[in-house]
Every structure is written in structure tokens, then in C-alpha cells.
Symmetry: C2
Subunit: 231 residues, 2 copies
Amino acid sequence: MAEKKGIILLSGGLDSATTAAYAIEKGYSLHAITFSYGQRHDIEISFANRIVDYLGIKVHHTIQLPLELFDKTALKKDSNLQVPQGNDISVQDEIPITYVPARNIVFLSLALAYAESHDAEAIFIGANAVDYSGYPDCRPQFISSFQNMIDNGTKTGVEGNSIIVEAPLISMKKSEIIKLGYKLGFDYSLTHSCYNPDEEGASCGVCDSCCIRRRGFEESGIADPTRYRNG
Amino acid sequence: MAEKKGIILLSGGLDSATTAAYAIEKGYSLHAITFSYGQRHDIEISFANRIVDYLGIKVHHTIQLPLELFDKTALKKDSNLQVPQGNDISVQDEIPITYVPARNIVFLSLALAYAESHDAEAIFIGANAVDYSGYPDCRPQFISSFQNMIDNGTKTGVEGNSIIVEAPLISMKKSEIIKLGYKLGFDYSLTHSCYNPDEEGASCGVCDSCCIRRRGFEESGIADPTRYRNG
């Protein structure tokens, strides 16, 4: 039987790494795509490389996006906006200023072109609506509308053989994601979450992303292997 | 009153040029985006530059896409597939082998990130379902599903202020497009359609794209300014 081929959007963070481990467990042979888009925490790309090695993923593309595309976000290295600290963004109503315009749309679209060009059946994304409820492009209704667009806008889609966007973590709490990865034997010291890492890659411990990560480990009862500068 | 800002996907071809002229006539201040993706007819990019000058478009980005993304298409320079000749692709059922996987999805997604980052209200695309009925990503149902995805997946979208995809040519015949551009005073010698141009940019006259262009001018009764090698 031919292997099922899947594409994983691999950032170097906890969610996409867990999603990769999950997809492999489901029998997919993965090609990974990592994007460099001027993000503050571009150190995550080196973590993506380690994850690829650890999981034995044989094909990995790191794609540099034109930096002029993305603006109006605190998440870019050249932004004057401050990354928020200590917020519980899982319960806030507003869209965080770390929102990057159309980021997951761009990532999924490029992965889609690659998937259709290379006969992949599925694109795996670690999007998660529970802890990132403020990001429009991390919600189930976004994923389903993107799927509908694939069905209508690609050759394989109109032929009734659509590439499927798989977002297995979409409704999971961070602690549940961590438990899933732990069960799959994944080593979370290989992942990076902090928006404000120092030059050695140590996490700040206080940005929104660190807060969510720390709370997730606490709630899961699993030891957090992350090296934090603060507390 | 502030100007309305629009993004135009400008290939250098006849349709996108007409769309640009149309958008300017509708009062939009345009930023143009042109993509280089290893297309056979990358000479069209130099035509896009001339169109930008002619129309007085002040901001123009030419974006190089990673070539490994797109494959399985006769339209790439490094493809072994032959570009079909002399077909009337407006009446054929199959998707032409010049289909590029998810091309318009990628183009629109990158334009969307740029549009949301730069406060644009609309993205203009010269997609046309009549002469390219075989391309899934040139049909009205694709445009509307992409719009729905924008509404659900972007900050401005969920805030009720979506960026709109405008495809004003979607239901027009090629001859009608040419008549529209002519009425707007556009000079079609600045545009390029051929998939197999020679090094000086002369068109082959026989590929699908040339056939559609030639027939469009014939039906419109407007003189075709194109330099063809054959006939």
C-alpha cells in the first residue's frame, strides 16, 4: 500500500510539533513546511529543524516570505508595538495585537499549492481555538471555510478528491495537547513558544505565549522542560 | 475624502491590465502585486512594469515565490509538459494542463495579507470564467468561497469590515473585456498573453492563450496590436 502523504505546517512551537507527532502516528508520511516572515521569535525555526530530525521527517522546506506583506502586528521583529505580557488571552474578547494579517491563510495556501503539486492528501495545522480564541484564523469556522474554498478552487477539489485540512487540536485545551504529545512520546524540550526569547533562546516566561504554555504544563501535571528567564 | 485603496494582481496580461484600468476609473488608488513563480512566459513581468508606468500606479511589488511550491503544470519553464496549441479551451470539459496548482489561491492570499497590513478595501483580480472555464480558480463559485473564507479568517472580516475580492471581468467574454479596456483608453500593446514567447517577446500566435486573445480582438472589431511569429 502506498503511504499517505501529508504536509505539516511546522512552526517550531508546541502545537504544530504535537500535530506532526499525531499525523505520523496516524500513518502519514510528512513533508514539513516552516515559514520565515520576520517574526520576533525566529529562533523557533531552529527548533523546527530539531523537531524534523527528532520525528524523522525526510522533506523539510523553510520558506522565506516577503517581509513587506505583513505589517500591523506586534509579532514582527521590526515592530514598534509591544508584545503583551501576562494576559489570559483565552478569555479576552479582542483580537490580540500579536495577530498577523492573514497568516494562516497564507501558510495554508502555500502548503496547498505544494500539496497539490506533490500528491499529498492532507495538510496538518496545529491551529487551536481554545487558547487562541482571539485569532480569527485559529477557529473551526475558519478551517471549514478554507476547506470549502479548496473544494471550489483546486483541480483535485472540483474532481471530488479534495486535499483535506486537518486541525486535530482545534478544540483541545493546551493541557490536553501536552498530554497527547506526552502519550505519543514527544519531547517538548524541542519546542519553543516565547515571543521574546533572548539570544540563547531562553524564554521570557511572561509573554502571552509563555503564560499559556506554563499554565498548560501546570494543568497537565507534566513537567515543563522549558528554560525561563523570569520565574 | 480619503482615497479608496485597492490591490491589483497584475500579471502583465490583458485581463489584469483591464481590471487595473477599471479599478482606477472606479476611484481606487492601486498598489500592484506581480508574481514570479517560474512561469514559462516570465517576460510578462516586464509588461507588468510597463502597465504600472502607463497607468501611473505608484506602488508595485514583484514577489518571487519559491519554485518548489508549484509543479504538475505545463506552465512552468522547467516543465517537460507541452503547452497545448490551437485548442478552444472555452468549450472543453477538462482542466487544461496549464492549470497551476492553487495559483490564484496563493496570489489572493498573499495580496490579502498585504491588503490587511496596508488598510486596502479591495483586491482586484482579472479572473475570467468564460474563456477559462476549465480553471477552477477562475470561476464565480471560487471567488465567493474565497470571500467567505476572508470573512471568517481575518481580523477585518470578523469585525464586519471585510476586504472585498473584486473580479469585475468574471462573466465577460474576451471581446467584451477588450471593448471595456478600449473604452477606458487602455493601450493593449503593453500587455502579453503568449505562453511560448520568443526571446524578443514576440508571441507564438498558436498556443491556447494566443488563440483566445486573437479571437477576442477579432470578435471585438478592435485592431490587435500584438506581434505574432506565426500568421
